[in-house]
Amino acid sequence: MSISRKCVPFTPFEGQLSKSTIAIVTAGGVHLKDQEAFNIADELGDLTFRILPEDVETSDLMVTHHHYDHSDADEDINVVFPIDVLRDLRDEGFIGGIARKHVGYMGYTMQLKAMYEGTAREIANEIDKGSRADVVVLTGG
């Protein structure tokens, strides 16, 4: 990996949460039911990711992931992808808004180099270019 583990990239937060737009990135294998599922048959893992729109309904989401028990997420996706929770915080005025794009991917892979140098950067580009997020919340699953 090219990034030094001793040096942690860090962007200070200088705004106010009540005026900030938030995006979610989850490694928990979340995707839309009508998007292609993650490939859990491949032992090496799946390096792709799915863009989830800001107005997504939780009933349109599902989990494809075979390295954790996602029965709780199947019941309430907010335990790994807290989009409704974010909406509640927006309605309460705690945050300013919901970003245009969110990301789901399957965090399990044996192809770490490709994940670190490919997928991780591609997801960061998507967030940077199209989400208009001031802040990103990530969950591991």
Binding site: G28, H70, V79, T119, R121, G141
Partner: protein, 99 residues
């Protein structure tokens, strides 16, 4: 594994100049990758990053606490543990194997 790769994604986003916070339920594994900011809800199991299904007040509390870390003087690379007794269970997090 997911709790490792997610930190790689987090670090790339920080390098784009967007501040981030990670909610991890596998703190030792995530810590190896040194996340810029991270919250560990103590004792939550894998698959329950925000808590249990339907416990919206708990989910809100966890998310509020995670976001609030952005306004606090956290140390990059360290994980902040918080207690949520309303979760009602304690699960040992996965340990990192010593080699």
């Amino acid at each position: 594994m997911c709790h490792r790769t997610v930190v790689a994604v987090q670090r790339e986003i920080e390098m784009k100049g967007v501040p981030t916070v990670l909610i991890t339920v596998s703190p030792e594994v995530s810590a190896q990758m040194r996340p810029p900011r991270a919250l560990y809800p103590n004792g939550f199991k894998i698959g329950n990053s925000l808590g249990k299904p339907g416990l919206r007040d708990l989910q809100k509390k966890v998310l509020r606490d995670a976001l609030t870390l952005l306004t606090e003087n956290t140390r990059p690379g360290e994980i902040n543990t918080r207690e949520y007794p309303e979760y009602g269970e304690y699960h040992e997090p996965p340990r990192v194997k010593k080699v």
